[in-house]
């Protein structure tokens, strides 16, 4: 089998890329995509641990399935919020949604 470290390092790389996208980009849609990337990295970790550490239990797989469910709900709501932001400010850049910034 593939060493467990390969999967863990891969998911660490994916998580870091997602975090860079969240921190450094302006577009709300791209931030949302980066958050999805981070969730995916976490799911890979869950399934890797389920396969390598306790293959007789399915807790990690169940967790990954719930991550997918919550991500679906999250994307639906985020789309609604982005549309609302666009309707009010004609932009989808998070820099310009600064009405609550002190």
């Amino acid at each position: 089998m593939i060493p467990i470290n390969d999967f863990l390092v891969l998911s660490a790389i994916l998580f870091s890329l997602g975090m860079y996208g969240v921190l450094a980009r302006r577009s709300a849609v791209l931030i949302l995509m980066s958050v999805e990337l981070m969730l995916q990295a976490v799911s890979i970790n869950f399934i890797t641990f389920a396969v390598y550490l306790s293959p007789e239990q399915f807790t990690g797989v169940i967790f990954a399935l719930f991550v997918i469910t919550v991500a679906a709900a999250e994307v639906g709501l985020a789309l609604a919020i982005i549309l609302r932001l666009y309707r009010n400010k004609q932009t989808a850049n998070v820099d310009e949604a600064d009405i609550m910034k002190w």
Partner: protein, 171 residues
């Protein structure tokens, strides 16, 4: 399990996944970013297959590639010009430094830890076992997830309702 085949598939999929994930945060055009995101998600589904988690791989393709990517496309085409000037913020370099640091730390911890691996890795027959677990041991979170999805749906509808219809409802 054919070992060399699995290893080759893993490295191929890993390169595709990380490469397209890099392109997501690198490209300026949001439509291109969504396409790279789909490629990346298909690659991750393939990685699930190399982990012998077939049910999650199929769910991944159905939900992420089929539904979530299409929602992202909707978000982009419904906000035309809304993402003009979507370059990196001035926080680019600190973000890059923090990201490299975090990735290196996570990778170091993963490699340094002595994982107590199970003797026999790999799943057999995941779909029926997942069904048993979801409707047996994990039935409460399963039901809560359905309430969560309903709440998210109602919330999304209320959020995008035009102002006029809210005023009508209040009259």
């Amino acid at each position: 399990m054919d070992d060399t085949g699995t290893v080759i598939a893993f490295w191929l999929l890993a390169v595709i996944t990380v490469g397209s994930a890099l392109m997501i945060v690198a490209v300026r055009n949001l439509i291109h970013a969504v396409v790279f995101m789909m490629v990346s998600f298909v690659g991750i589904a393939g990685l699930y297959l190399t982990l012998s988690a077939d049910f999650v791989a199929v769910t991944q393709v159905l939900l992420y590639v089929g539904a979530i990517s299409v929602l992202m496309l909707f978000a982009i085409v419904l906000t035309p010009g809304g993402s003009r000037d979507n370059a990196e913020t001035f926080l680019r370099l600190p973000a890059l430094a923090l990201t490299v640091l975090l990735g290196a730390t996570l990778a170091y911890v993963a490699i340094d830890t002595d994982w107590s691996l199970a003797d026999r890795g790999g799943f057999t027959d995941t779909a029926s076992a997942i069904g048993d677990a979801l409707l047996g041991k994990y039935v409460l979170p399963f039901e809560i997830a359905s309430v969560l999805l309903l709440a998210a749906m109602i919330g999304a509808i209320v959020l995008v309702r035009p102002e006029a219809s809210i005023e009508e409802a209040e009259e």
